[in-house]
Structures are given as C-alpha cells and as structure tokens.
Symmetry: C2
DNA sequence: CACTTTGGTTACCGCAAGTAACATGCTGGC
DNA sequence: GCCAGCATGTTACTTGCGGTAACCAAAGTG
C-alpha cells in the first residue's frame, strides 16, 4: 500500500531527524557553538551531506536546534506568567524561571544567545545574529501580549505593552548575562533587585548626599 | 638622533593605523560586518599581511574599530547622564541619546551589536560575541557607577546599582533594537514609554477587566 | 531481471583566516 | 660611499570551513 509506506518513511525520516538533532546537541554542548558540521556529522555517525539533506544549511540546523530549546524555555516562562498569584509574584517567578534556566544549562544559553564565541579555536561561528535575536524578539512579543491582555494601560496600550515587553525582556537578558558571568549574588537577590527596579524604586530613591542628584 | 627617529616612526605608524581603521570603517559600513580582511586591505590599498601586522588578527581589528565608536557613544551618554536636570529628565535624555545614536547610524550600530548578520552573502561573520557584548557590559558598568554614586540606595547599594545598571542598559538595548527594526513609533514616544516603565507604571497600573490580573 | 527510490559515501570547489618567505627602500654608523 | 638593519610591502602558500556533485549500494516492485 502506498500511503502506508509514505507514512512509514515519514516517521522514519522524522526519527532520523531527531537523532541528528540530539547528536548536534551533544556536540554543541561539548564543543561550544563553534562546532563544525563535520564534527556533528561524525558524532551522529554519518557524513556531512546527510546533514545538509536534512537541514539545508547550517542555519537550518541551527534553527531547528534552537527551536527545541526556545520552545522549552518559552513554555516554562509562560507557566510562570500564568500562575495564580499577584502581579509582583508573577513577575518575580518569571524572572526566576528565566534565570534558573540559564543557570541550569549555561552552555545551551550561550549557544542560543551568543552563538559564535564558545569555540576554542577558529571562531567561524554559527550563523548567529539572525537566530539569536529572534529568541529575544519572541520572548518580547510573548511578554507584550501577556501585558497587553492583562494590564490596563489606557489608550495606546498596544504600543506601550510592546515597548515594555521588549524592554523587560532585554533587562532580564542583559542582567542575566552579566550575572551568569560574574556570579555576583544569589539568584533570589537578583530577582528581587530587578523586580524592585520595575517597581519604580529608582524613581522613589533619594539623592545621595553630596551630588547634584542622578 | 635615535629617540627622535623612534618618535617619527611611531607617529607614522599611528597614522597608518588610523588610515587603516578608516578604510576598514568604510568597508564595514558598505559591506556589512561580513567584510573580509582581503576587502579591507584592498580598500586601504594594501594587502592582508599588513593588516595582520597592525592588528594581530581579525578580532584585533574589530576591537580597534569598535572602540572608536564605542568611545564616542559612551561620551555622548555620559554627557546626557551628567546634564544638570532632575533624575527623570536625565534618564530620558540618556535614553534619547542612545536611541538617537543608533537611529543616526544604524550600520554602525548593527556592526557593533550584531556583528555577523549584515553581510549579503556568506556570513562568515566577524569575531562577534566576544566584542559585541563588551559594549553592553561597558555601558552597564558605567551606568551602574553613576547610579551608585548619585542615588541613595541604602545598604547593598553596590550590588543594587550594578544590577540596575546592566538591567537598564539591557532594556534600552533590546527596546532600541526592536524599535529600530520595526519603527513602530517616534523616538520621543519610545523614550517616554521606557521612562514610564522605569518609573513604576507597571506596578501602578490596574488590572484589565476580565482577567485574573497580570 | 531491469528499475526506481532511499540513505549513504568520497572527493571536490570556493573562500576566508592566517602565515612564511621573499623583496625593497630608507635609516644611520663606519 | 657602502654595508647592516629595520620597517614596509608583496606573493604564494596552508589549513579548515561550508556547501555540493557525482557516484554507490541495498531493497522493494513491475
């Protein structure tokens, strides 16, 4: 039967694809984002052209690889965002979810965000930019949507929510990146500090004695 | 005289270096960050090994190139940060300075921040990551310093200022990047929205009717 | 048995980073 | 005036990557 056969083939192709992605994952996590297609193919026990048959080009592989992690991360953020609690708590748990994720698997994080620095040698880099930014964008849009649909921002709420979504995500990202690199404090402290910032503590704080004020 | 000669040579070397950087600048701005060393050398009217003698490797050239722009940007931010006005105004004018800079020369901006996507073809990319992030870090540290020295944050002010510095810079960066790509509103609107966010409007806003609250 | 399809390989191209070895011209000391 | 030395520049190479073409074999189907 022809359709049955098609299905089998399809399933098998998908299976192979998943195997390849897992191999790629292992290599990228081991060698950093500078991992070469050759290395990935070798890890998967095959040779380059097969990879290209499956993913088109390196960007394709990267995209497929990134999407798995991205989806997982977004899911956990969504969960935190949708928890039944007040706004401050939700914000904190979302920040915490993000930071926990990048703390738990820094290699994955670095791969997703800064694809091109990890490799020990030639730094040919992955396709970068074109894919790392989309993750931030996706998170920003996602957050914007949640904000817009839950917070009353008056007229112009669409634009405002968007700006805030991307802004908050950027804040989280940059602070997280810095924190991950220098481990200057506990995760909880970081979460609290960021939430305080979003809660207007910068505006509320007084000027330091002796200066013209910030 | 020997020292005199040294000086002459030194001056001449510095001059050459500047010429090379200017040529590199032109090429990068024209061809995007994927510009090859060959192309840069050609633009400068010389050949590759000379570039390598001056800058070591591609990363070195990148670093030198980036520093010029970075320094200029930081100077303008510092000016805004130090203007005699109240805190809110300073924050707004700093945001505005940053956004104005990236709006005025998006090519430079993309080169500094996302070095590896602009090239029209092969996307070999510049050295990326290792250099683009430092700019954000520098801005974050700089801001942290200003905050710490001007705002009274009670005990733990060092840590808090740092977190906020990097967080605010990240917010500015991500929002700016998104805004630059989609031009969804005027610069002034964006500045206002971000300042509002920092001023705690997210915490102050009410819940939207019909939802469990954000 | 020929015959297409599917999953595989080897061997290659093009190109960019980076280097080695060679050429040339200006310096100053003898 | 002539040779040593050094900066400046060149050509020609190596290596390693992304990507592709062409070939190969096994397995089901008329």
């Amino acid at each position: 039967m022809e359709t049955r056969q098609r299905t089998d083939q399809q399933r098998s192709a998908d299976y192979r694809r998943r195997e390849l992605l897992e191999a790629a994952d292992r290599v990228v996590l081991r060698d950093g984002p500078g991992a070469s297609m050759n290395a990935i193919a070798a890890e998967a026990g095959i040779t380059k052209p097969i990879l290209y048959r499956h993913f088109g080009d390196k960007g394709g592989l990267y995209a497929a690889l990134a999407q798995r992690h991205t989806d997982a991360l977004l899911a956990s953020l969504r969960a935190a965002l949708d928890a039944p609690a007040d706004r401050r708590e939700r914000v904190e748990s979302t920040l915490d979810a993000y930071l926990a994720a990048i703390e738990a698997r820094p290699q994955v994080y670095r791969f997703l965000m800064h694809p091109a620095e990890g490799g020990s040698q030639s730094e040919q880099g992955f396709d970068t930019g074109r894919h790392s930014i989309p993750l931030l964008r996706r998170m920003g849009e996602e957050l914007a949507q949640v904000v817009e649909e839950r917070v009353d921002l008056g007229p112009d709420s669409h634009r405002l929510a968007r700006v805030w979504g991307h802004g908050i995500v950027g804040m989280m990202h940059a602070a997280g990146d810095w924190w991950l690199g220098e481990q200057p404090c506990s995760r909880a402290e970081l979460v609290r500090s960021l939430a305080d910032l979003l809660w207007g503590r910068l505006a509320a704080a007084g000027n330091r004695a002796g200066g013209p004020g910030f």
